[in-house]
Symmetry: C2
Subunit: 400 residues, 2 copies
Amino acid sequence: MKAIHGGVTAPIGFRANGLFCGIKKSKRRDLALIVSERPCHAAGVFTTNKVQASCVVINKEHLRDHRAQAIIANSGNANCMTGRGGFENSRAMAAVISRALKIRKKDVLVASTGVIGKPLPIKKIIAAAPELVRGLSRKGSELAAAGILTTDRVNKEAALEFMIGKRRVRIGAIAKGAGMIHPQMATMLCFASTDAAITPAALRDALARAAGKTFNTITIDGDMSTNDMALVLASGMAQNKRIVEGTKDFRIFSRALETVFLTLAKQMIRDAEGATKFVEVCVRHAQTKEDALAVARSIACSSLFKCALFGSDPNWGRIAAAAGYADAHMDPRRMQIYLGRELVLRRGGRVKKKAVILNRIFAQKNIRITVDLGLGKYAATAYTCDFSTNYVRINSAYRT
Amino acid sequence: MKAIHGGVTAPIGFRANGLFCGIKKSKRRDLALIVSERPCHAAGVFTTNKVQASCVVINKEHLRDHRAQAIIANSGNANCMTGRGGFENSRAMAAVISRALKIRKKDVLVASTGVIGKPLPIKKIIAAAPELVRGLSRKGSELAAAGILTTDRVNKEAALEFMIGKRRVRIGAIAKGAGMIHPQMATMLCFASTDAAITPAALRDALARAAGKTFNTITIDGDMSTNDMALVLASGMAQNKRIVEGTKDFRIFSRALETVFLTLAKQMIRDAEGATKFVEVCVRHAQTKEDALAVARSIACSSLFKCALFGSDPNWGRIAAAAGYADAHMDPRRMQIYLGRELVLRRGGRVKKKAVILNRIFAQKNIRITVDLGLGKYAATAYTCDFSTNYVRINSAYRT
């Protein structure tokens, strides 16, 4: 398994493009298109928010046949809570690409990200469609990755090459993150491609597993988006023996997809709104897998812990408090807490450490917190960032 | 029912005091004592965090006989996650007051608030105890209220006088808030007194109801404390006919206690760390009471919504998103959202309003958000504040 260049266009048969069509005031790219040469097996996971953008609803409809060939996405406007007109606009996005590429409307997936509740300027998107299609290229991943960003500072791309039997196979993806990140069962925006031949059922299963272990373990601000989705298209052009569930090939493919997603998930945390730190919260020896993840997420979500990270203040009492209010079995008398490699809490009491040592750990850019519950054999890791004055600044004037 | 002065010492038979014993670097008051002339019926509600400070554990023990006569509390140190030594220190706090007042140890309740995980400087508390007792006074509520503050800027006191039959009865209380405020079933620190004669069972019931409708509906930062508690002592010295459950007198007493608590809960929000705004989130027409509160709390907790409040940006899409991820029945097509009195969302689509009107509402110091779920007949209100750069600043350097 080796990392390669090319992002979502690394697998055979995929082209992409991204451009500025007039939605973003900043005049940055705000429209992206990913297209496969052939119809693909396709799968998606979506936000579990009960308020869902029209693109989420429409994609579920379009994926009923587990098939797709193109993804069009705009940034700068979420097209959510925009009434019936919003649905018509999402359908119009799919329609214009369907006509330009001469493919079925149902084979076009749609995504939007940005401000909620504002009408989508659909005419700008329709006007830009011919140029968007004309510019499709085998090297277009970077442009597409730029076209889906909102408050992100950098592009998020990843690609891997690995063997299925004797065939070289590739997975590539682009994503965006930055804010309103607290995925549950689904994720932010992530568009993945692969040239692997794989059954629709195996693709769905691999996607759900990989998203659960990666995107669902990150949190930036505890707010779950209305537009989250991860989509994957499999062209089959690598001509490997078709991957089916429960085989060694399936495990190889799943692990590769998970690796690509984890790379993107970590990129999202590093580029989180206002973030200055990258933090891993590892929970060990929980009674169940769910407990391990619940405790890790509870700590990763704590505003107070995240403020302490920003201030480089090794205030581990806040870690203990957040572990204590997680919905999980725990016994404070068995819990141990490590900051980096330093044990600071053992059996309900602190282990005295020199302040200078703990301060040095919290002053680093990459921080690992380990919480050992001392109860069972399950572990989980959650990823988060610090909570900075800049996060508040960015989000106090998001629309202006 | 009328508001009176005197806080926790307003009811007959209660004296209080507060002083600086040497815990806080700021040299502000950090020790408080409340004493009743006679043994009282007593009740408490406590944090549901699984990590609990030793004072929480010990108070539950001391309240087994539903009786207490004094409350000693320190600020500047939570005495939590401090091991066996921490428990001994909490017991020592009760013991020194028991000796000085010649009352049973079990009749002394203990509370601590401040940094988690640091050993409590118990010698300073013991040394200050004689002076603390000497200074007890009928006018001491203000000093005690100051002695329990941490990052609070102002004292929190309230008292009411009302009639039970032909007897004048009083309830008084002090509280502290400011941060790590997200009560579940219990609350922050609140010490209440009453001269009403009331059965222990009625007192417990009234306390649980009142806390549920007041302290449990506020959130400052979504972090639940390890030291939360609300205690109430009833001296019976008003000589009213003893209040029992299920009577008109019980309803009058419960409503009065709820009014005192709501006054304090609102004071907490107004004085929240870094807060510049006071926000009521009213949810109407929910299918169940629990749903109404879940949606109200979800919105009140949203970091993004709270940042928008700070920036006076009427970004109601974040309200819709937070309602959508609450654990409650909801249908976005039936939801309506009002900012102040302005309807901005109806049947899944926005109602166009002039930006200047919405901006003016969000620029106010007091803001009311109403979310109508259009499903049933239940309502609930949650109280919150904005999320400011100052909140982050305060909590990035809490210990330094």
